[in-house]
């Protein structure tokens, strides 16, 4: 049976070059980077080299990179680290309604601890109006955190404009770039951000490792105390194999960006055209052009997404859905709700996220099986109109 992975926003397959780069650091170069002997120094060298590689991808300086356990920790460090440090200067944070739970849940926790949070709405294509962000800034505002690209619908936010407007009022800007790296150019100076989160496993690297870019001069309260690793910002013996893997993945993401982006956009556009053309009452979610090149997100009337996902899985196709029935909480996707899509249609949503290795033949196979599956489920559904 076919086995087609099109859930690359959930995670990606580690690149063989990444795995090869990591292996020596799981085997012979096992040293602790804090040790002064040769074993330690080999690890320390790898750490320095990796920091440079990640910085290069972002157009940053090596000492602006803090390695973490992944995107979630990076987001926590950016938000809580800023909030705790600046709590005497102000207690107001601005974010959006479509952020990843790593941001939203952290904000809710900060609210419990006396901070105030404004959640900026989006339009029906998932876009934030930078002027809404500007208008939300008050004297008490200490931080704005808006994602670069959405993990569900792939809408790309105007971070450059948000940064400019925020800096005119002296407010720091953080962006969660976990989904955008490797798909569109991500340069911290072009974006104008003060902090940026990234994760290795979304760019064909290993799980459990990520980084936070913190612009020189921007200070944070430490969340993880201990031996003073990562210049005191994040203690704990460095995960050298993971960090080397992240660095290799970052290097490849940079080298392959142009080729990957155009390949992905080709597949995406073909998939969207084919689905719209062959499934009546199918609707594209998100923005038609301000969209990640690998994101195809649809809703289909009269069918439920979990059924769709499981039936596609039986045909060897791995995708995802925003349907409540597939989530642990049984809540429909907060992102699709924010677009104003009615619940019964959110249940019928399907996310296809393409990866470097996918081919046009695979797109054809997936669309063909999607048509068949939607037709089968609609025939079974009591809400499908007759004829």
């Amino acid at each position: 049976m076919a086995k087609i992975y099109m859930d690359n926003s959930a995670t990606t397959k580690p690149d063989p070059e990444v795995v090869s780069a990591m292996l020596p650091y799981l085997n012979e170069y096992f040293g602790n980077a804090s040790s002064l002997h040769s074993f330690g120094q080999e690890a320390a060298e790898a750490l320095n080299r990796s920091r440079q590689q990640v910085a290069d991808l972002l157009g940053a300086q090596p000492d602006e990179i803090i390695f973490t356990s992944g995107g979630t920790e990076s987001d926590n460090l950016a938000l809580k680290g800023t909030a705790y440090l600046k709590k005497n200067a102000g207690k107001h944070i601005i974010t959006s309604v479509v952020e990843h739970p790593a941001i939203l849940d952290t904000c809710r926790n900060l609210q419990k601890n006396g901070f105030k949070v404004t959640y900026i709405p989006v339009d029906d294509q998932g876009l934030i109006d930078p002027h809404d962000v500007e208008d939300a800034i008050i004297d008490d505002t200490i931080l704005i955190s808006i994602m670069h690209a959405n993990n569900e619908i792939g809408t790309i936010q105007p971070i450059e404009d948000i940064s400019r407007l925020a800096h005119e009022k002296g407010v720091l800007v953080h962006t969660d770039a976990v989904q955008s790296i490797g798909k569109i150019p991500v340069n911290v100076d072009d974006l104008g951000v003060d902090m940026l989160s990234l994760s290795a496993h979304k760019i064909h690297g290993p799980k459990g490792v990520g980084a936070l870019f913190v612009r020189k001069g921007t200070r944070l309260e430490t969340l993880v105390h201990g031996g003073g690793h990562e210049r005191g910002k994040r203690s704990g013996t460095e995960n050298i194999p993971g960090i080397v893997g992240l660095a290799k993945a970052a290097e490849l993401a940079g080298q392959r960006l142009e080729k990957d982006a155009s390949h992905l956009a080709n597949l995406r556009d073909a998939a969207i055209t084919k689905i719209l053309g062959s499934i009546p009452e199918s609707y594209l979610n998100g923005h038609p052009t301000q969209r990640l090149p690998n994101n195809v997100h649809f809703r289909f009337s009269y069918v439920e997404g979990e059924s769709l996902l499981i039936m596609l899985n039986m045909k060897g196709v791995a995708v995802s859905t925003g349907s409540a029935c597939s989530s642990k909480s049984l809540e429909p996707s907060h992102v699709l709700s924010a677009l104003g899509i009615p619940s019964e249609q959110i249940h019928g949503s399907l996310r296809i996220t393409l990866g470097r290795a996918n081919t046009m033949d695979e797109v054809d196979y997936v669309v063909e099986n999607l048509v068949e599956t939607v037709t089968k489920l609609r025939a079974m559904s009591p809400i499908t109109p007759k004829n």
């Binding site: 979990e306 059924s307 029935c325 009615p342 079974m380 559904s381 809400i383």
Partner: protein, 124 residues
């Protein structure tokens, strides 16, 4: 996360469709919640001679619908009214805990169809 039995009924559901001249129709759930089910029954001499369903919902909702049509077929009305949600889940070798409440509507659907039949026969 689903048992093999659930997957079997989901991929090859039994008795899908409508009964044109049904004696009773039961409709439960609603599309906003993500699960909606319509059960059609045909009754002859106090026995269920035909049972069909149409379902909008997750794999569990579809599997429980298919299962209950098989369980109810040939039973008397009294016997069919005794089929519980738990019986349906058990016959499918269990359902994930999170699905026990929301997607396990088939017994309710069957009971609603029987009630509809009984109400209709009363008014005749």
């Amino acid at each position: 996360m689903y048992s093999e039995k659930v997957m079997e009924h989901f991929s090859n559901p039994k008795n899908v469709g409508e009964i044109e001249d049904a004696d009773g129709i039961g409709e439960v759930g609603n599309p906003t919640c993500g699960d909606m089910m319509t059960i059609y029954i045909k009754v002859d001499d106090g026995k269920l001679t035909d049972v069909k369903f149409k379902t909008f919902g997750c794999a569990a909702a579809i599997a429980t619908s298919s299962m209950i049509t098989e369980m109810a077929l040939g039973k008397t009305i009294e016997e069919a009214l005794e089929i519980s949600r738990d019986d349906v889940a058990e016959s499918l070798d269990g359902l994930p805990p999170v699905k026990l409440h929301c997607s396990n509507l088939a017994a309710d659907g069957l009971h609603a169809a029987i009630e509809d039949y009984l109400n209709k026969s009363k008014s005749n």
